[in-house]
């Protein structure tokens, strides 16, 4: 999974477990499965997305935190 987030220092949680900050997690290797992705930062609206990971496929996620939170998912 390729993740980019704004702000870059946002905290990333996978299934509720802290995974690190977004700037250090540009590429995340996950076993096939369904995961709850949460990206949060202080004073910003959290980003939540359910992601489905398949073997051999990369998932690109852009998480923009804020009142105008938008997401884009692309295979």
């Amino acid at each position: 999974m390729k993740l980019s987030a704004d702000p870059k220092l946002a905290e990333v949680y996978i299934d509720g477990a802290y995974a690190g900050t977004a700037d250090r997690l540009k590429s995340i290797w996950l076993d096939p499965g369904a995961y709850e992705l949460t990206v949060s930062a202080a004073d910003r609206e959290s980003f939540h997305q359910r992601v489905y990971v398949r073997s051999g496929k990369s998932l690109k996620i852009t998480a923009k935190l804020g009142s105008d939170a938008t997401s884009k998912e692309k295979l």
Binding site: G33, A34, Y52, R54, S55, G56, L75
Partner: protein, 227 residues
């Protein structure tokens, strides 16, 4: 003792609810917000058939390879719960005998896994060979030739590769089933609007006119779907 069993049952229920993923999609404000819609017996029905492009964006699973996906929203009549069942839907290609009932997430996932597994990775690459030919004996002059460089050109075809193909493993099938199930139209009693995707195992054809048939309270409601 019995209260312990009771608490254990409650704990199991809470745990199963906590681990269950979302179900369906978020219904729009009303049925007329969908490309095709109608109202019958106080029940609003909204339908949109996903284009290949949208299906590719909405799903990690390659649903375009197996079926036509429709997002269906149902708006129950006031104070009257609606029993939602996938068996009540049929997708029909107008002016033809082709029709299909929805397939379950498990069936679609198995079909996609089978298709992915049967894919063959074929790579074609040009190849050029350079070699040196040893000197040969000339029977006419009785002398040895000088030999020289030889060149050959061709195409290499490789079939297969190492490792499993995407979507071909059992774990991939399970992921696809989870995704299709979680995004699917929720079945059962609905007192509030519900929506979700319905998967019809039918080949997508360009310019084919489709219609969705829905059996509601014993009546067949037909919704023509725009191309």
């Amino acid at each position: 003792m019995s209260w312990k069993i009771g608490w254990a049952a409650v704990a199991v229920c809470v745990a199963s609810l906590a681990t269950a993923g979302p179900k369906g999609t978020v219904p729009r404000s009303s049925a007329d917000r969908y490309a095709a819609h109608t109202v019958w017996d106080g029940v609003g029905i909204g339908v949109v058939v996903l284009s290949s492009e949208r299906a590719r964006k909405e799903f990690v699973s390659d649903v375009n390879r197996c079926c036509v996906v429709a997002e269906v929203a149902l708006y129950p009549a006031t104070d009257k719960a609606l029993n939602v069942s996938l068996n009540d839907f049929v997708l029909r290609v107008k002016s033809s005998e082709t029709s299909a009932k929805p397939a379950s997430a498990g069936v679609i996932a198995a079909r996609l896994q089978k298709k992915a597994g049967s894919d063959r990775d074929i790579t074609v690459s040009p190849s050029v060979g350079v070699g040196y030919e040893n000197a040969g004996y000339d029977p006419v002059t009785g002398t040895r030739g000088g030999g020289g460089m030889t060149r050959s050109a061709g195409v290499m075809v490789g079939i297969g590769g190492s490792g499993p193909k995407p979507a071909s493993t059992d774990r991939d099938r399970a992921v696809m089933e989870t995704e299709l199930s979680e995004k699917g139209l929720p079945e059962g009693a609905a007192a509030a609007p519900v929506s979700g995707y319905v998967y019809f195992p039918i080949a997508r054809k360009k310019n084919a006119s489709l219609q969705l048939e829905y059996v509601l309270n014993g009546n067949k409601v037909v919704v023509a779907l725009p191309q």
